[in-house]
Amino acid sequence: MGGLVVPLEHVLLLAGLLFICGLTGLMIRRNVIFILMSLEVMLNAAALAFVAAGAYWGEPDGQIIFLLILAVAAAEVSVGLGLVLQIQRRFKTLDLDQASRMGG
């Protein structure tokens, strides 16, 4: 099993850190653009982990999933950006907290 030069744990740790970064962004950001970016980071963290694991096991599966994730992320973000436009038009702001009406 030698597709991976660095130890797997290191890459997973990196992916984990990326994931946490994304999560943190999700929790502290109010601007919808930044939130979408954080989401991308999280997805990419997962993708990175897949690539690393695939390399570790010497299989192409990891890369395939990586490609799928890329496609998915693109789809999500495109719909997301569409919604961002609507939000901007409707609420005149990109601050999600201000666009929130529901609750309780």
Binding site: L23, L26, M27, I28, R29, R30, I35, L96, D97, S100, R101, M102, G103, G104
Partner: protein, 611 residues
């Protein structure tokens, strides 16, 4: 002849059913005919029965149907007739008929004429069932039945809440005793497997040691019932209040019949009581204590009916005394004579009240001797019998009781002394009543005279009060042959004559006013004592603060359901949690994300932690 026994209680009940069904639509005349007539018919039947039975005085029983049958618990709707039953039935239907007759005039102006006779007939029916019952359960039926009728009749004039209160008091206080009695029934059945009275006696003799715990407990519980119904200490407080009912009711229920049911019960179950000497002693002591207490109280009352009520309590005390010392037939004898003269007194008092615009206070009467002569003579004869002046009926019966009391081992003389003191007091208060009401100056003018339907019964009862002492009761087979011996000598003389002393004292104080007791009576100590006596030895207040008020307070505190607070607490908790959780649901995306992160961290912790 004997199978007609069934008709005796049935007739009044039937009349009551007809009166209920017609619901007051019958004319008064017809109601009166039905109400009084049915009891009169019963009385005739009783007379026939008595005559027939006296020819061949053997107890017999009449089984109608089995009431309920569960395993060996098989009480029947069954009657048992012996001497005691005959005496009781005669008193109930005889005196009962006279009182019904009297009522037809007394209640003439009342709108609820029909309702009155319904209750009265129901009462007579229930009372007859009580004395006819061959088992304690059926007796209990009659027992409770008369209780309810008493409740209904005391509260007959329901529009005044005070009457309702008196009625409820009467029912509930007796109910306390009844509950004890019911427990007694449970105990008797559990131990002896029957409630049939004659079998009970036999079974008890076989299974129980005289003086053992079980007979004592059983008799004590039965005594509880008797004490309640007969208004003896400590459950006597209801009777004076029960005077709120129409006066004929007081005469019938609260003098002649129902209140003596306790005496009847003890006499009926004497076989059991004889196996429990301590209870017998208790009966005697209760009797003496009650008769003294009630006599002192009667001495201070101003309401004519309350005086008579306390006097009733006191006289029943004598009967209890008789039962307690084992002189059962003397007790029943006094029961009968008391029924005569006390009914007479009540009816006479009723006549006074009737003719005096419902005046009850004796100090607003006076001088009626000439204005209401019939009533005066009735009252005088009644009082004489009550005071047990020689050769009246009361004299014979009370004499017998006191003489028997003296011979009771070790406690006898003390009880006798109490009885004698009571006799003086009885004479004193009864003639105080006579002198104040019928002599002196008139304070209220009567507006009418009793007509024949009232006067007739009075006259008949006068006769009975005088000659009642000569009626021989067929009780020899009912009670144990060896009744207590009678005292002789000085004791006998004192016993016989003591009442005269009381009358003389009453004369000196209340009529000739030669003894001025005003000063003594008004001294601070004395007036407080009189106050105390007046209030019936403070028993009402005592019970009120010990039971009634706490119960009411308890009910008031609890009325909003303490247990429900627990469930309300759960509801409040849920709502509070709902509120808190809803607040978290703020609509902020960041917060939602944070909750997910928290969930993730917790899950990781749990999963990794609980390997």
């Amino acid at each position: 002849m004997l199978q007609n026994t069934v008709l005796i209680p049935l007739l009044p009940l039937l009349s009551a059913v007809i009166l209920i069904a017609t619901a007051g639509r019958l004319p008064k005349r017809l109601v009166a005919t039905l109400g009084a007539g049915s009891v009169g018919l019963s009385a005739i039947l009783v007379a026939q029965l008595s005559i027939a039975w006296l020819d061949n005085p053997v107890p017999y029983s009449l089984h109608l149907w089995t009431w309920m049958s569960v395993g060996d618990f098989q009480p029947g709707i069954a009657f048992y007739v012996d001497g005691l039953t005959v005496v009781m039935m005669s008193v109930i239907t005889g005196v009962g008929f006279l009182i019904h007759l009297y009522s037809t005039e007394f209640m003439q102006d009342d709108d609820d004429y029909s309702r009155y006779f319904t209750y009265m007939n129901l009462f007579v029916g229930a009372m007859l069932i009580l004395v006819l019952a061959d088992n304690l359960l059926l007796l209990y039926l009659g027992w409770e039945g008369v209780g309810v009728c008493s409740y209904l009749l005391v509260g007959f004039w329901y529009k005044d809440p005070a009457n309702g209160a008196a009625a409820r008091k009467a029912f509930i206080v007796t109910r306390i005793g009844d509950t004890a009695m019911a427990l007694g029934l449970f105990l008797l059945f559990t131990e002896l497997r029957t409630l049939e009275i004659q079998q009970l006696a036999a079974a008890a003799n076989l299974q129980w040691e005289p003086g053992g715990n079980l007979p004592i407990l059983a008799c004590a519980l039965l005594l509880g019932g008797a004490v309640g119904k007969s208004a003896q200490l400590p459950l006597h407080t209801w009777l004076p209040d029960a005077m709120a009912g129409p006066t004929p009711v007081s005469a019938l229920i609260h003098a002649a019949t129902m209140v003596t049911a306790g005496v009847y019960l003890i006499a009926r179950t004497h076989a059991l009581f004889l196996m429990a000497p301590p209870v017998m002693l208790a009966v005697a002591i209760i009797g003496v204590a009650t008769l003294l207490l009630a006599a002192f109280t009667a001495l201070n009352q101003t309401d004519i009916k309350r005086i008579l009520a306390y006097s009733t309590i006191s006289q029943i005390g004598y009967m209890f005394l008789a039962l307690g010392v084992g002189a059962f037939s003397a007790g029943i004898f006094h029961l009968m004579t008391h029924a005569f003269f006390k009914a007479l007194l009540f009816l006479a008092a009723g006549a006074v009240i009737h003719c005096l615009h419902h005046e009850h206070n004796i100090f607003r009467m006076g001088g009626l001797r000439t204005r209401l002569p019939v009533v005066f003579w009735s009252f005088l004869i009644g009082s004489a019998a009550l005071a047990a002046l020689p050769f009246t009926s009361g004299w014979y019966s009370k004499d017998e009781i006191l003489l028997a009391t003296w011979t009771m081992p070790w406690a006898g003389p003390w009880l006798w002394a109490g009885g004698i003191l009571g006799a003086i007091l009885t004479a004193l208060y009864s003639f105080r009543l006579v002198f104040i009401v019928f002599w002196g100056e008139a304070k209220t003018e009567p507006d009418r005279q009793p007509e024949w339907r009232m006067a007739g019964p009075l006259a008949l009862l006068c006769l009975l009060s005088v000659v009642g002492g000569f009626i021989a009761q067929p009780l020899d087979q009912v009670f144990p042959a060896h009744q207590p011996e009678h005292a002789t000598g000085a004791v006998a003389w004192i016993t016989m004559g003591i009442a005269i002393l009381g009358v003389i004292v009453a004369y000196l104080i209340y009529l000739s006013k030669q003894w001025s007791v005003e000063a003594g009576l008004n001294s601070p100590g004395m007036s407080r004592l009189r106050e105390f006596w007046y209030s019936g030895w403070g028993m009402d207040r005592f019970y009120d603060s010990l039971f009634v008020s706490p119960y009411k307070t308890l009910a008031r505190i609890m009325r909003n359901e303490p247990i429900d607070q627990l469930y309300n607490g759960i509801v409040q908790l849920s709502l509070w949690l709902h509120g808190w959780l809803s607040d978290q649901q703020s609509g902020q995306l960041r917060r939602y994300a944070a909750s997910m992160v928290v969930g993730l961290i917790l899950l990781v912790a749990v999963l990794a932690g609980a390997r």
